[in-house]
Symmetry: none
């Protein structure tokens, strides 16, 4: 992969427009040996037609055998080295509830849990309390816990999950977690991890988080089963150079789920109002067309149905998406990429390491022999099996947005 600094030096301005159509968890597997994958089973006349005009390949989000979380999967697709820019779990959760995280904030993922009179954990998820109770108790913590010198935000997520954000001067991330991952022992004290640079700030932040946990236990004392908290993934958001700076683009994100909107904002995209349905997203694309030159359009439900293990439903999602391709082409984009941030085979009910079928269309893409947009066919494409971080440089090149390297 060419690094961002290398690319940045080659970027030139152009009037061209790039669209990334991202079906989350696109890649799949057969349900039984010899069967079709979800993509192979789907009717996909528009994707196939576009594939036959495109250069195709299979993208590797992180490295061979590595299953990406949504954070690293997206960063790679946007051209950022996912092993260099690490997004903590707390940050991801905060993005997921549309919390407006500032660069200096430290965010952590919290669980309500149950402890006995001795303070030993009896249930790490507090019996998965209903979300309404999570909302109530989060509000209570938000009001009643006070920490010296920092602002504190406790925000509910779902069931037993909440987000804790500390805001103030000289906070540092990269802290250990308090969840001992077992029962019958008390929560662990949080401490700075070795990698941290500013030791004093890390220690101060750890102390504050430990103080939060101590006060939370008092506030929650009478609220069994949710009478204590566990905290993990405490970190700041990574300092990412923006797509404007690096790629010279005016980028926009079209995504329904807050987490993906948040990820896009991390790299400097404008998150456009995107409605709730796929049709809304394509409406947004058409409406915002004049205002931006890079569009990331995210479709969540290919991944969701994969995680459900519902092969047929994932097939239906792909078919639904296929139907919108002509609307994109009608906008006359200079570059269209269709890909996913990772694979989510229904057969595995989870994200997986398998490369992601990908096409890139432009007038100068040098199309290959691939005429079917499937895992099996894309292996033979002109992009080969390639790192996902190559997609942005390729898209920019096809959009005439990169100049020559060297004389």
């Amino acid at each position: 992969m060419a690094d961002l600094e290398f690319i940045r030096k080659l970027v030139i301005q152009a009037q061209t427009k790039i669209v990334f159509l991202v079906m989350d968890g696109l890649g799949g597997l057969p349900m039984q040996e010899g069967g079709p994958t979800e993509l192979e089973a789907a009717r996909r006349p528009n994707l196939d037609a576009l594939a036959s005009r495109s250069v195709c390949g299979c993208s590797v989000p992180i490295a061979a055998g590595i299953t990406p979380g949504s954070g690293p999967g997206h960063l790679a697709m946007f051209g950022y080295d996912p092993c260099r820019y690490i997004i903590g779990r707390g940050v991801l959760e905060a993005l997921g509830i549309d919390f407006d995280l500032q660069p200096q904030d430290v965010a952590g993922r919290g669980n309500f849990c149950s402890v006995d009179a001795a303070g030993n954990i009896t249930d790490r998820r507090a019996g998965r309390i209903p979300t309404e109770m999570c909302v109530q108790l989060s509000a209570r913590l938000n009001e009643q816990v006070r920490l010296p010198g920092v602002q504190l935000f406790v925000r509910p997520v779902k069931e037993h999950r909440f987000v804790l954000v500390l805001r103030g001067e000289r906070l540092a991330g990269d802290l250990s977690e308090s969840d001992p991952q077992q029962l019958g022992v008390p929560p662990l004290a949080i401490h700075p991890l070795d990698e941290t640079r500013d030791r004093a700030a890390s220690q101060r932040t750890a102390d504050l988080v430990n103080a939060f946990a101590g006060q939370a236990r008092q506030v929650l004392a009478t609220h069994h089963p949710a009478n204590m908290v566990l905290l993990r993934g405490l970190d700041k958001r990574p300092a990412l150079p923006s797509m404007q700076e690096v790629f010279g683009l005016r980028p926009a994100a079209i995504a329904v789920y807050p987490m993906y909107r948040g990820l896009a904002k991390l790299v400097g995209m404008t998150a456009l109002p995107s409605g709730t349905k796929l049709a809304d997203e394509f409406d947004t694309l058409e409406r915002a067309w004049p205002e931006h030159d890079f569009f990331y359009l995210h479709f969540k439900y290919t991944d969701s149905r994969g995680e459900d293990g519902d092969f047929q439903a994932k097939v239906a999602m792909i078919e639904e998406f296929d139907g919108y391709i002509p609307r994109v082409l009608d906008l006359k984009p200079d570059v269209v990429v269709v890909t996913g941030d990772h694979s989510t085979p229904a057969a595995l009910l989870s994200h997986s390491w398998h490369p992601v079928p990908t096409l890139l269309y432009s007038r100068c893409c040098r199309s290959d022999d691939v005429a079917r947009f499937t895992e099996r066919a894309c292996v033979h494409g002109g992009l080969g099996i390639f790192p996902a971080t190559d997609l942005m440089p390729l898209a920019l090149a096809n959009a005439q947005r990169l100049t020559k390297f060297g004389a």
Copy 2:
């Protein structure tokens, strides 16, 4: 390639089993343009059947154009960067004679050579003395040479070749060689090479080795043509993290030749008693099946026949190996890899740089269109042309032994 530390953090425990079937020097070439390679010429019904259920590719052991020795070829296959972990020639020779090399030992490869009265070399291999003489003279050196503060082992290899091992405190490797690679000059004094860290230990070790050479000349004075020694490849064995630590496996090696057993032990494998024939090796695999979860089974003779330049004999070796594939599948392994540590085309009579045909089978491997296990066919596989170091992460992923990277 994801590095070992990165992989280690993602490893999770599972009950799954992985088998690496390694035909040494597997890849080949046509004997004349347009002809078949050894694999193409072989009847390989079982390999082809497995390939069609597998994901295939061509592995690159080191880098494009680089011909690997057995050491780096194996390290890469086992997931270790072969350019970072260097195995000295002395260490490799020691492993090859099944010498129980300790982490602090310095091992060197020795040659008996001939010198004239002035001490100038007249034959760098002492006329390739018979092995029996090598055995006798090695024993004599082993008994009669004494060095202060260190134990010394001289062990015969074959013809003019022996192994020297020094054992003691504060020895250091990475020394120069005494073989000037020409006649009419005396052996060179050995000195530390620049890269060495502990300069005092290196100098002491060099002094000891030079003292060994001096005494050896006296002991051998009346044994012309073998009246002197040349030493090279003096080094310690590399400090490799074990496969248990890094990959969380209980790994076992099934190999007939000591060198391959030794290489496997370097990465923490248990070298199982493996008999002398291929049938013995598969018997061992079946017998040891419950005790381990990673098996490396090594077949030497594809390489040997390639180095002989005997195309038909290499074809026969491949066909013999093919016959054992069903016995492996009967064990119901979760992951089967068939590969080689490098190519050894009979046409070249030596190791070569060519990528190695490779298949990986698992229930979730996402099989490709490849239905023939040949060099030509594997190029089109779903693994593409890939670094051999990717094999271990891929095998672990397919064995459900790696968790997700990032949230």
